[in-house]
């Protein structure tokens, strides 16, 4: 397997007013979600028929022990595909309805300070000037 590299894909400030951004890394579309101070990334192709998860809504995890009962938790941590509505955990990529069968592909996302980009090594620059805090994808 090819070694993973780190790629700068956006500025943190690009996420003002939005919780997501679609970027391209090594020719692959990657959606990045920001939830508070946490960052999540996934290949932007639904494992079902390839819908763009970036256009999906972020919803809660809904559980039920049986008819008439439901509990909701983990607000905005489940992405619902904009096409047929399959749901995936943005932390793991696991499909909510059939967790053992399907999985969206998660990718690592982190934030580095621009002055650190020289020191963490192996950073490719994607149209982002090195100012402020930068969002980095590992792929």
């Amino acid at each position: 397997m090819a070694e993973r590299q780190k790629h700068v894909v956006a500025k943190v400030s690009d996420f003002e007013g939005t919780d997501r951004k679609l970027v391209e890394v090594k020719g692959r579309p990657i959606v990045i979600f920001k939830k508070g101070d946490e960052w999540f990334g996934m290949l932007d192709r639904c494992p079902h028929q390839g819908g763009s998860l970036c256009s999906g809504s972020l919803i809660s995890w809904v559980e039920s022990s049986g008819p008439g009962d439901y509990r909701m938790s983990r607000k905005d941590e489940i992405v619902r595909c904009p096409w047929h509505g399959w749901e995936f955990d943005i932390r793991t990529g696991v499909a909510c309805a059939r967790p053992t069968k399907y999985r969206a592909r998660p990718v690592g996302v982190s934030v580095v300070k621009s002055e650190e980009t020289e020191t963490v090594g192996n950073l490719e620059l994607y149209d982002v000037s090195r100012e402020g805090d930068l969002v980095v994808v590992e792929l």
């Binding site: 079902h48 390839g50 256009s55 904009p82 096409w83």
Partner: protein, 368 residues
């Protein structure tokens, strides 16, 4: 046949020629701007005063809220604004060009067929036919229309058919599956006769407001049960048309069932044959085994296609009905859209693939 054969890994389909998509749903950007100009002032005033009341017990909207807003893919809203599939340029970009579609059959929905005021229904349907030509088919030759009609008024339907059937803009007559009476009822026969006389199939799309509960057992709790019930209404309408002798009476009639699923058809044919053999007293006007009639007169569109874990089982179901019976459809821009590259992820022969994605549709619509 080994029904447990291992599924082939997911494959994407490549079709050299453009594909035929037998179900797409362009929308007016605004009824007032695009459709009302084709309606007499009297009816515009009527709509402003009384609204458009459907034959259902729910004021405004559909019986069941859809799983996605406007029942559409969330990425299908045009950048310039307006509802999904209301912009020709974005329709071309996101669908026709992106998927190499060279014939897309538009089927307008929720726009007048089942309005309770019959004269209003006739006026709105007539306007929708003008709108299809003016805003879509005359601007984009890859898009073909469906003649929309207030099908509870067969005389008005025949007039619309006579008016539009000869135009290249239209490839079928449009009805919806949930009619007030079973579709083999004689009140609908003039429609079928006119369709056949003009060489156009009757395309029956799932949905519609007949005033009956969507399932044979009443009103279900969930939207997705409403969706599942399309297979029921489609089986009921095929049964009705076959047993009422519609195809015996009108030998040139072609029927395209849209969006009701496909894999149930083989078992329906088995059951219809078996019952037909045993009930000659009731059904002596049906001259041939129902399965033979269906294989000659009926096509099904693929979307929303069944997705068994073992995809090979779907291939077997299609084999049981015949590869020439199934037409690819995307249902763009609706949420249960099937991407042509992923709709049938199994290894197909060239003949199967070309028929499914193109040739069968051209035959059904009588095009070359």
């Amino acid at each position: 046949m080994n029904v447990e054969a291992r599924p082939n890994p997911l494959k994407t389909q490549s079709v050299e020629l453009g594909i035929a998509d037998c179900d797409v749903h362009p929308n007016p950007a605004s009824l007032e701007d695009e459709v009302f100009p084709f309606i007499e002032q009297k009816w515009r005033d009527y709509i402003a005063t009384y609204g458009m009341v459907q034959r259902i017990g729910f004021a405004g909207g559909t019986q069941y809220p859809k799983g996605q807003p406007r029942a559409s893919r969330r990425d299908s809203y045009p950048p310039e604004g307006g509802p999904p599939a209301s912009s020709l340029s974005f329709f071309r970009e996101q669908h026709l060009d992106a998927h190499n579609v060279d014939m897309a059959v538009m089927i307008p929905l929720r726009i007048g067929q089942a309005l309770q005021n019959m004269d209003l229904a006739v006026a709105v349907c007539a306007a929708i036919n003008e709108w299809q030509t003016e805003f879509w088919t005359s601007k984009e030759p890859r898009i073909k229309g469906s003649i929309v009609m207030a099908y509870e008024n067969a005389d008005a339907c025949v007039q619309q058919i006579e008016k539009h059937a000869h135009k290249d803009d239209f490839v079928q007559i449009s009805m919806l599956s949930r009619t007030p009476d079973p579709m083999g009822h004689r009140k609908y026969w003039p429609i079928y006769e006119a369709a056949a006389a003009n060489g156009l199939p009757v395309g029956v799309h799932a949905f519609g407001y007949g005033g009956n509960p969507p399932t044979g057992g009443g009103y279900p709790s969930y939207y997705i049960e409403d969706m599942m019930a399309h297979a029921q209404s489609c089986q009921a309408l095929i049964t009705s048309m076959v047993y009422e002798g519609v195809f015996d009476r009108i030998p040139d009639l072609k029927l395209v069932i849209v969006e009701g699923g496909i894999a149930w058809l083989p078992s329906l044919m088995w059951r219809l044959d078996k019952i037909w053999e045993k009930n000659r007293l009731e059904l002596s006007h049906v001259k041939r085994p129902p399965s033979e009639i269906i294989r000659q007169h009926v096509w099904l569109t693929s979307q929303p296609i069944e997705e068994p874990d073992n995809r090979q089982q779907l291939v077997e179901a299609i084999e049981w009905m015949g590869w020439d019976r199934v037409l690819y459809a995307s249902d763009y821009p609706h949420w249960d859209f099937d991407d042509p590259k992923r709709a049938l992820p199994v290894q197909l022969t060239k003949e199967q693939r070309d028929g499914f994605f193109r040739g069968n549709a051209y035959k059904a619509y009588g095009l070359s």
